[in-house]
């Protein structure tokens, strides 16, 4: 039988799906990330750490919402579980930061799975409300279980140490954050090359057909909650060790909405989109603040309304995005790539 296979082996065909240009882009990004900390000032490194943590959290949320189609408003709560577990274990029990981080990931995965149980019955907005309940319950526990969490007071976490070196500068922490971003990225990309990831997407696209194809909806929906929460817990734990302080205000429902905005703006069901959205949503407020400062010097009068203007701008940008590119930054990125693909001699 003659078949239209263009590559001699499937291994090659699979590998070649990653095009030449894609490989070059990946190499450029890696080189940039390796060189960046040596060129950047402290402020840029702070931002880079924030972006890195947000990327991990966004990939986590995207696995659940973008890939599996289970809307979650519990992100803030799950990050709180990660941050408090890591913070408490290190601050109160003297556990090394990396060990408390691992425990935090598994704890959050477990809590996330428990709060994912309603997804077996609920979909869409109803599930969103159920996960909002998770958010509210978790924060209530955090603020009321003072003996363990410190309640509404801040929990102070000592500086992390690795091989005797204190990781107390942005430069040092950068390697932790972005090393983990790298691992998480590879794991997420791999996940969606295998039957686990395909089952998640199948559930999102057509759950009845998925079940008839042999996908156990109960198992895989809960697994999506577990994998997602594991990563969200990691983002939470990193927040605790990076900031040396854990407070409940960092994990309110605003955070849940912010992360949803990240993946919607970045691109649902896309790892690249998670990167773009997390970067954009972390840097936009910074940009607006700096812009505000610049404007303030020439127009001192607007000083008092500046915060409101910034908030409004933030909202406006998001709305404009949703109107003009509902498929997110990732779609714009794809369009750019397609544009260059059509260029003569570009490959």
């Amino acid at each position: 039988m003659i078949s239209g296979i263009f590559h001699t082996t499937y291994e090659k065909d699979m590998a070649l799906r990653r095009t030449h240009a894609q490989k070059i882009r990946i190499v450029i990004v890696i080189v940039f990330l390796l060189v960046f900390p040596f060129l950047a000032n402290r402020y840029a490194l702070t931002l880079a750490n924030q972006v890195g943590i947000a990327v991990i959290g966004a990939i986590g949320l995207n696995i659940l919402v973008g890939y599996t189609g289970q809307i979650s408003l519990g992100q803030g709560g799950f990050m709180a579980v990660g941050a408090y577990t890591a913070g408490i274990l290190t601050a109160r029990f003297g556990m090394p930061w990396w060990a408390s981080t691992i425990v935090a990931c598994f704890t959050t995965a477990l809590i996330g799975t428990i709060f994912g149980i309603p997804s077996l019955r609920l979909k869409g907005l109803y599930l969103a409300i159920a996960t909002l309940a998770a958010q509210v319950i978790i924060l209530w526990v955090v603020t009321h279980w003072s003996a363990l969490t410190g309640g509404v007071d801040a929990l102070v976490v000592p500086d992390p140490k690795l091989f005797g070196i204190k990781i107390n500068t942005d430069f040092n922490f950068y390697w932790v954050t972005w090393g983990l971003v790298g691992i998480v990225t590879i794991a997420a990309v791999n996940l969606f090359r295998t039957h686990f990831g395909r089952a998640f997407i199948a559930i999102r696209d057509q759950d009845i057909a998925a079940s008839v194809m042999g996908v156990d909806l109960f198992k895989y929906k809960l697994l999506a909650f577990a994998v997602s929460s594991f990563l969200v817990g990691l983002a939470g734990a990193l927040t605790a060790h990076y900031r040396n302080i854990v407070t409940w205000e960092r994990f309110t429902v605003d955070v849940s909405v912010l992360y949803l905005a990240m993946i919607i703006i970045g691109g649902l069901g896309s790892v690249t989109g998670s990167y773009l959205g997390a970067t954009f949503m972390t840097l936009l407020p910074v940009l607006l603040t700096n812009l505000g400062r610049a404007v303030k010097t020439s127009f001192p009068l607007i000083d008092s309304i500046l915060p409101f203007v910034q908030q409004a701008m933030f909202g406006l940008v998001i709305i404009l995005f949703l109107i003009f590119e509902p498929e997110g930054l990732n779609k714009i990125w794809k369009n750019i790539k397609d544009y260059f693909r059509l260029w003569p001699f570009s490959y």
């Binding site: 078949s3 295998t194 999102r204």
Partner: protein
């Protein structure tokens, strides 16, 4: 009828002609509507059984009971592979794991996946690598992927969809989507394949292609096929046996010739009009071609 044999496309181990699926006095109601009344039916290994009947007769409901999407109020469904399994109360994914695959009347593909990924998703029950090895994608997970990829490519060849394997299914024409859906069901390596109107809305040429694929899968791989189809020409040519449903009741069952001659069928469904048998598509001439 001695066609069936065990091959890559077929996971069944029972002999051709033996009972593979037994439906006993099945009754299904939706509130006041009775979709199936006391239906008895047997499906035999390696046959093509057509289910015909007017719209609303209960054909799709019957398939939905078999694949576990509907749970009948009365009666039972027994499936035989290595032993007898009562599937009446099982969940859909458990039934799938026994080797029953299907396509849907209204295409239910995973729209945002490529054709290839849809087919790989169809092979889900055969993939066993652990979550950890999947995340690392090294060793077992990668080997498993390559092995299934090779297998799925055979189905792609069989269905002649090589050119579109990397296309997102949402962007394909209706006919190609129907084809991809059959491919996804085949990727499960089913013992029993349920096809709900796989040729609906197609032109004569497309129908002929699909009929050829169905015969290929059945004759070369011995896969048992239950086919719901409205085109009488195709049904008469392709099937070994035909069951006729009308208002939720089975009113006839037999070979194409028997059903064609059946008075109830003629009255209830076919009418006096003999032009409903236009096709001259002879099954025995299609062997191995």
């Amino acid at each position: 009828m001695q066609r069936g044999f065990i091959s890559g496309l077929n996971s069944s181990h029972i002999k051709p002609g033996e009972t593979q699926l037994r439906i006993e006095s099945l009754q299904l109601n939706f509130g006041g509507v009775t979709a199936l009344i006391d239906v008895d039916l047997e499906v035999r290994q390696s046959e093509i059984l057509a289910i015909i009947g007017p719209n609303g007769a209960g054909k799709t409901s019957l398939l939905n009971c078999i694949s576990g999407l509907y749970h009948p109020q009365r009666g039972r469904i027994v499936y035989v592979n290595d032993r007898e399994h009562e599937v009446t109360r099982m969940r859909p994914h458990q039934i799938a794991r026994l080797g029953i695959a299907r396509s849907f009347q209204n295409i239910e593909l995973f729209r945002h996946m490529t054709v290839l990924d849809n087919l790989l998703a169809g092979a889900h029950i055969h993939m066993n690598s652990s979550l950890l090895s999947s995340l690392i994608y090294w060793g077992p997970a990668q080997r498993e992927h390559i092995q299934h990829r090779r297998y799925v490519e055979d189905i792609i060849d069989l269905l002649e969809i090589e050119a579109i394997r990397h296309n997102t299914v949402g962007s394909l024409s209706y006919g190609l989507q129907k084809r991809a859906e059959i491919g996804r069901a085949l990727a499960m390596r089913p013992s029993l394949l349920l096809l709900d109107e796989p040729m609906a809305g197609m032109n004569a040429e497309e129908k002929e292609d699909i009929a050829r694929f169905i015969l290929d899968v059945n004759e070369e791989h011995g896969v048992t096929i239950v086919l719901i189809e409205h085109d009488m020409g195709v049904v008469m040519d392709v099937s070994d046996r035909i069951a006729v449903l009308n208002f939720g009741q089975k009113i006839a069952e037999g070979t194409p010739d028997e059903v064609r001659a059946n008075r109830h069928v003629i009255e209830a469904y076919l009418g006096e009009d003999t032009s409903v048998f236009p096709f001259k598509f002879n099954k025995s001439n299609n062997n191995g071609s």
